[in-house]
């Protein structure tokens, strides 16, 4: 009998010892500067603004800047002559050639927790004492949950594309837009900046160091709406900035002209676009909604939000169901991503002539959440968040 017990015991001990094997412990995978150099190797590490400017070959055409376009007119795949450029397009897309590995790096400045940066990352890079920035379009909901604010990324970009949507540069892939369900479909049809497939993006990204609070420049509204510097300023699109001593005027931009917000129902997309909330419904047309802020000098700019943001139907600071009378009582800082957005297809960028809209309306600050609005009344009380509620 003892023999039997011993046999069972050996088998049991063997079994238990094997079954109790542990699962692997997580590993470290951030890289440091030395490793960045190693990865880049013989490749080229580009500054973000260089990438925005660079005349890489294009197969898709429709780039907006005629000077650059002429440079590349003999490039592979072009079917249009230069005269075609007189019709400036809403979109452009230029593929970044493969061959030599190309990289960019930058620290993430956005998240989508409040639903205001849908499938978009903004990165920022300090170059020569000035922040450069770039938008990256990635096909993943809540992409900021994986690539979090403050994390620096090294991204291999050859084989991707640089595109512009309403002159707003972004790292992307080429995608053909034939969206028959779109509004104003005609002008949007063609090769457009498409979102980088998530798995493709993952493959190209390496994390540099641990997250750190991203740098935020304090600037004046005048700094970016200045007509004289507009072409150069456009490269500031995507920067994280803070504007001090501003307040909401209770107005929105009606085709470039300030107009007072109303108490209309923001869910009524036909009549509610003037509602005194951050972003009334557009009927799923998906264009951002903007409300005007102004500084002590009287310069105006827009604060932008998506109709899908969680705070889209919150009243503007100081506004309520009765109107906008209290808006100007709340003064303070607005932090967000600076954006240059020019969606007018007859704009003549190459000579900076704008036939339709004042330059200030091309600029906006996109807030990441309502925490980006540090506005106080004269007693020092932070503005109170109030939601629109349908009667």
């Amino acid at each position: 009998m003892n023999k039997h017990i011993a046999t069972f015991s050996v088998i049991a001990i063997l079994a238990i010892s094997l079954i109790s094997c542990n699962i692997n412990e997580p590993g470290q995978q951030y890289i440091n500067e030395d490793q960045v150099k190693k990865i880049v190797g013989n490749g080229l590490l580009l500054n973000l603004n260089d990438l925005k400017r660079a005349p890489y070959m294009t197969e898709k055409g429709n780039y907006c800047d005629p000077a650059l376009y002429r440079l590349r007119a003999s490039g592979k795949g072009h079917t249009k002559d230069v005269s075609y450029l007189d019709t400036i397009w809403l979109f452009s897309i230029d593929t970044i050639p493969t061959g030599r590995p190309l990289y960019i790096r930058g620290r993430i400045t956005t998240d989508d927790f409040s639903g205001n940066f849908y499938k978009t990352l903004c990165i920022q890079q300090m170059v020569g004492g000035r922040q450069q920035a770039l938008r990256i379009s990635v096909d993943a909901g809540s992409v900021g949950g994986l690539y979090q604010i403050g994390q620096e990324l090294l991204i291999r970009i050859d084989g991707l594309a640089i595109g512009r949507y309403a002159n707003q540069p972004q790292l992307c892939v080429a995608s053909y837009n034939n969206n028959i369900y779109a509004n104003k479909a005609e002008e949007k049809v063609g090769w457009v900046p498409g979102r980088i497939p998530f798995s493709e993006f993952n493959k190209r990204v390496t994390l540099i160091g641990k997250p750190q609070t991203p740098h935020c420049d304090t600037i004046e509204i005048f700094d970016f709406i200045n007509h004289l510097n507009q072409v150069e300023n456009r490269f500031d699109d995507g920067r994280l900035v803070c504007i001090k001593n501003v307040y909401y005027t209770g107005q929105y931009s009606k085709y470039g002209d300030p107009a007072n917000c109303t108490t209309n129902d923001p869910d009524d997309f036909e009549n509610g676009s003037s509602a005194n909330v951050f972003a009334p419904s557009t009927g799923n047309m998906n264009f951002p909604q903007s409300r005007i802020i102004t500084d002590e000098e009287g310069y105006m700019t827009l604060v932008s939000a998506s109709e899908y943001a969680k705070f889209s139907h919150f009243y503007l600071p100081g506004a309520n169901e009765n109107g906008i009378a209290g808006c100007q009582d709340y003064v303070g800082n607005v932090t967000g991503i600076l954006g240059y957005y020019r969606d007018n297809n007859i704009t003549k960028l190459y000579n900076n002539v704008d036939s339709n809209a004042p330059a200030w309306a091309d600029w906006s600050i996109t807030i990441r959440s309502l925490d980006d609005l540090q506005l106080f009344d004269e007693d020092g009380n932070l503005w109170e968040r109030r939601e629109y509620r349908r009667k």
């Binding site: 994986l146 047309m285 939601e387 509620r389």
Partner: protein, 1061 residues
């Protein structure tokens, strides 16, 4: 009406009492002993006289005796689990005891390998995010029945189901105690994982036929016999190697035999294991496997009339899982494996973490079980068996959960090359060649697989994805654990008190069962065996989630991410502010924003308590030319859901629909202990069956069986959204207000069925042909999926499902000389739905799914056009040919070639909603709702109807609602070849060594689909610039959410070496 079952029992008993009680005087007898070649005594062997249709089983000493026989030539059929059956021709002398001496059986050394096939398939049950699982193969056992003997193993790979019935129609007992789960309806084979010897001895009856241990049911009934004296005395040690989910197994079994003090003991230990299978494409890719099994049974006999059994077993198991995949993923990943023979097993559930493989879906199961059985042979005519069992099924499965972060699944549809087709398909299903302005898009290109891509597809982007998938790039095709950890670490810096971005959660479904059974047999009346039984089962199914691994995050916060994401819409629907409905996102209202650490419970925590009581009675008459049985059963069952968490979505629904509060929170709402107790739903289900055998002569029999019964819905199908609230399928509520008996089976499924068999048995040729027909009315099914229209998870409860299953089974076995036997079997069936079904749809996060003049609608009433749809439950056309070889020097071999066809994809009810064709569905009060984005809106209707009344859609939309055949287009890919070869070596002192090698799918048919399902999601696009309620349209990329398939393993083997001493 309430008295009906009792009256019936009285009548049946009365009938028996008036029969002449003629007891035969001393007559012709037959006795003998059944032993193995090595002298091992075989207990539990079935000994049957073919011509007289009499049978008995051997005692622990292998002895048997049959009395009151007719003299003359007879065929004695002996069958024993673990041995190859035999038929002996004997001459029975009149008025004496005919001593046959020892009858020797050859061990079936291939059995262990074959059992492993069934077990592996049972354990490779697949779970995915639509909650789909694939039924395992039927539990037909090796028996003297030619059909079952062949199909039990040969048809397990394609997951053949007897007559197309799901597992809950089969009944499984252990020592007379029912082990079908009250909640899931099925037997958990993996509870005995690896304990092959423990589960070897069983009695199985085909379909409706009568048995001694239960009323049975529609499908096969099996009773596992685990008394210690069933097992051969001595040691048995085996080792096995395989290339399946696990790679190696060791087992040891010891049985004492019946000792002089009346005790007998048997024990088995088993261990099966595999480290991670690292080679890509290999069977079991990304799966690790550790399972330890134990089994002990003790038996005490005292006097000649008393027997006590004590049994315990369990098999704590930890194993990785794999997933069903789309054809695209299968094709792409197999390009990587194209030069590697036998590899087709891409598994998206694993990824590398710090360079080491890790599977995200790890099942942990353990079913500790204790059974006590007492048999009292009161006298020659009365026998009583009592059983008591306790069973605790601990089952959990891990999965990644995420919060405000991207979906981590590598095969998520947006990560695949095919997603680039979205928006590029025209109304004819082709790539667009001109854009909407008329601009020519130029020519497209072909990918290396030969797929054409249109001119509007960016080749660079497409080929980047294509190459990544076809080269099995780890960052693309597998979970990126390092990224997940990095996201959580970053979140710890940015948001130290916030919820983790990713966690590994563990979903528990534990079931506690206590069971009692009583079985009484009475044989005093000549030609009659009366059997009666009682069964009682108390079950508690416990469902909850815990955190398995925080993946380096600080904590998880117990809120529902979807409710939080949609809170603006939820507020708008209710005309309230987000602040006023903030509770909606809480999973546990009593503990808002609860901080969850490792092993803490969160999400949901509820039980379903179930009681089942059965009483049944059966008479079996055996006459010279005719056998007759009839039986009746009545079942009382109830179910009650109790939640330990008050869910915020339930509160929200009560807030906006106060009239529905009792349905969401139960009749009493929250009790003092903070629990929510729902309605107790009660069912009373009668069942009747009858069977007749006409013995044309000793070798030719005609059998007829029929059954009529009702069967209560399974608890898992009864609740519409059990994680959130108590709302059940509508007609179940009737029971709480029931006024008459029929209300108690109103929600039950009604079943009527029958079969007719011709059976023949000659020394050279044996076989049978059976025709069967079964109708089901009023079935219930539950589906859950992500709905693009509502942008959230929805639950769909279907009721009123009607089906018919009819077909023919046939088998023939021919002895070819001394060494060979040729056996053929076929089953040809037609299993389909015969009517449309009612369906109720609601969103898991409380989102309104429509609106009409009365405002937002939260429960949508609709019907599903199921009529004519084939039941998806294994192939309906099966055929096999098996050539067996046996050499007296103990060489064994067999080759089985099988053909399978008529296997169908499981359709998604969401794609066949009537409202998609008509544009209208309804709220609870019958008020019409205009459907947003229907087939009608998409102008997809042809105006024609099919023979079942379903509107026919134009191509390509027709791809959305068609049921696809799973049979491969190439007929050769519908064949499977299995081979087994073995050798038994007898050693001195009753020792033996056996070696067996079984190879399944030897032709390496890697294209064989064993099952699959349509994804429930419909491809939709949003129309811009229109009102919300008409902003959706079904788009032309109908392949956006393609079907997912399960594939058979490529060539696989199982090698066993067994040593007995």
């Amino acid at each position: 009406m309430k008295r009906f079952p009792f009256l019936l029992a009285l009548i049946l008993f009365y009938c028996n009492s008036i029969v002449a009680q003629e007891i035969a005087i001393e007559a012709t007898r037959l006795s003998g002993r059944v032993i193995a070649e090595d002298g091992t005594l075989i207990s539990g062997a079935t000994v049957t006289l073919a011509n007289q249709n009499l049978s008995t089983t051997t005692n622990p000493k292998g002895e048997f005796q049959l009395s009151y026989l007719e003299a003359g030539d007879e065929e004695l059929i002996i069958d024993a689990a673990g041995y190859t059956g035999t038929i002996e021709i004997i001459l029975i002398q009149k008025d004496q005891t005919n001593q046959l001496g020892d009858i020797r059986l050859q061990p079936d050394i291939a059995l262990e390998a074959k059992d492993e096939v069934l077990l592996n398939l049972a354990e490779s049950e697949l779970n995915d995010d639509e909650g789909k699982t694939q039924d395992q193969a039927s539990s037909a056992s090796s028996s003297t029945d030619v059909f079952n003997n062949l199909i039990a193993y040969a048809w397990s790979t394609p997951r053949y189901r007897n007559r197309g019935y799901t597992q809950n129609y089969e009944t499984n007992y252990i020592e007379g105690i029912s082990f079908n789960s009250a909640e899931r309806g099925q037997f958990n084979f993996s509870a005995m994982g690896g304990l092959n010897d423990a589960s070897r001895y069983k009695e199985t009856t085909q379909a409706i036929e009568a048995n001694n241990f239960s009323f049975g049911g529609l499908g096969n009934a099996t009773n596992y016999l685990m008394s210690a004296t069933n097992y051969a005395q001595g040691w048995k040690v085996s080792a096995a190697g395989t290339n399946r989910n696990y790679k190696a197994a060791v087992r040891a079994t010891y049985s004492s035999g019946l000792l002089s003090n009346g005790w007998a003991f048997t024990g088995q230990l088993a261990f099966r294991f595999s480290p991670y299978t690292e080679k890509k494409g290999e069977i079991g890719e990304g799966i690790n496997y550790y399972s330890f099994g134990y089994f002990f049974t003790a038996e005490k006999q005292w006097g000649k009339r008393h027997k006590l059994n004590l049994i315990t077993f369990g098999a704590p198991t930890m194993r990785g899982q794999s997933a069903a995949v789309t054809q695209e993923v299968y094709d792409l990943t197999n390009r990587y494996n194209k030069n590697t023979w036998g590899y087709n097993s891409y598994n998206p559930y694993w990824g590398y973490q710090d360079g080491k493989m890790r599977n995200s879906r790890i099942v942990k199961s353990y079913d500790p079980t204790i059974i006590a059985g007492y048999t009292f042979n009161i006298n020659e005519f009365h026998k009583l068996h009592l059983g008591l069992g306790f069973h605790y099924s601990l089952y959990s499965n891990s999965a990644l959960n995420f919060y405000n972060a991207p979906d981590p699944r590598p095969d998520y549809y947006r990560n695949l090359p095919s997603f680039l087709r979205d928006g590029q398909i025209d109304e004819n299903g082709n790539f667009i060649t001109k854009d909407m302005r008329g601009q020519n898009l130029g020519s497209g290109f072909y990918d290396p697989s030969g797929n054409y891509l249109g001119g509007s597809i960016d080749k660079t982007t497409y080929m980047n994805l294509y190459d990544a998938w076809s080269s099995r790039d780890d960052a693309t095709t597998q979970i990126n654990w390092d990224n997940i950890y990095a996201a959580n670490r970053a979140n710890n810096v940015n948001n130290p008190d916030g919820a983790a971005r990713y966690i590994l959660e563990r979903r528990h479904n534990d079931i506690y069962e206590g069971m009692f059974s009583a079985n009484y047999q009475y044989t005093k009346i000549d030609h009659l065996k009366m059997t009666a039984g009682l069964e009682l089962k108390e079950s508690v199914g416990h469902h909850y989630k815990t955190v398995d691994d925080l993946l380096d995050a600080n904590q998880w916060i117990d809120i529902d991410p979807f409710a939080e994401r949609d809170i603006a819409d939820l507020a708008e629907n209710a005309s309230l502010s987000q602040a006023e409905i903030a509770i909606v996102k809480q999973n546990d209202v009593a503990n808002p924003n609860k901080v969850i650490k490792k092993n803490d419970r969160f999400g949901y925590d509820y039980t379903i308590q179930m009681t089942t009581f059965k009483a049944w009675y059966q008479n079996e008459w055996n006459w010279h030319d005719v056998d007759l049985y009839y039986a009746a059963q009545v079942t009382y069952s109830d179910m009650l859901r109790e939640s330990k968490m008050m869910n915020g979505r339930a509160v929200y629904l009560c807030l906006i629909q106060p009239e529905m509060e009792q349905y969401y929170l139960g009749p009493k709402g929250l009790d003092q202990s903070g629990n929510l107790k729902g309605y107790r739903h009660r069912f009373i289900d009668p069942a009747f069956k009858v069977g007749l055998t006409y013995k044309i002569n000793g070798r030719n029999h005609l059998k007829f069986n029929a059954i009529a019964m009702t069967q209560a819905p399974l608890a898992r199908n009864a609740y519409i959204s059990p994680r959130i609230h108590d709302r059940a399928v509508e007609n179940i509520y009737t029971h709480d207000r029931a006024k008459n008996l029929k209300d108690y089976y109103a929600a039950s499924e009604k079943i009527v069925g029958g079969d007719l068999t011709y059976e023949f048995n000659y020394p050279i040729v044996r076989g049978r042909v059976t025709g069967f027909y079964t109708r089901f009315w009023g079935g219930t099914e539950l589906n859950a999926f992500y709905d693009d229209e509502a942008r959230t998870f929805v639950n769909q409860a279907m009721t009123g499902l009607n089906r018919q299953h009819c077909g023919v089974e046939a088998a023939l076995s021919v002895k070819l000389g001394t060494y060979f036997t040729l056996t053929g079997a076929t089953s040809i069936g037609d299993y389909r739905y015969t009517s449309d079904a009612a369906v109720i749809t609601s969103a898991e996060n409380g989102m309104a799914l429509g609106s009409n003049k009365n405002g937002a609608v939260y429960e949508i009433m609709d019907s599903v056009m199921m009529k004519g749809v084939r039941v998806s439950n294994g192939p309906q056309l099966n055929a096999s040919l098996k050539l067996s070889f046996f050499h007296p020097k103990m060489w064994f071999a067999d080759v089985t070639l099988s053909y399978f066809d008529w296997n169908y994809l499981s359709v998604a009810p969401s794609r066949r909603l009537k409202s998609l064709y008509t544009d209208t569905n309804y709220d609870n009060f019958g008020n019409a709702i205009n459907v947003n984005g229907s087939y009608k809106d998409a102008n997809a209707l042809t105006g024609d109807y099919d023979k079942n009344g379903k509107p026919i859609l134009k191509y390509p939309y027709s791809e959305l609602d068609q049921q696809e055949s799973l049979a491969d287009a190439n007929p050769w890919n519908r064949f499977l070849l299995d081979v087994s070869v073995g050798k038994l070596i007898y050693l001195p002192n009753r020792q033996s060594l056996s070696i067996n090698l079984s190879c399944s799918n030897l032709l390496n048919n890697v294209h064989f689909k064993t099952g699959g399902y349509q994804q429930a999601r419909l491809p939709r696009s949003t129309k811009q610039g229109v009102q919300d309620d008409v902003n959706s349209v079904i788009n032309t990329n109908v392949w956006k959410f393609p079907a997912k398939y399960y594939y058979a393993w490529g060539a696989n083997f199982y090698l066993t070496i067994t040593y007995k001493f």
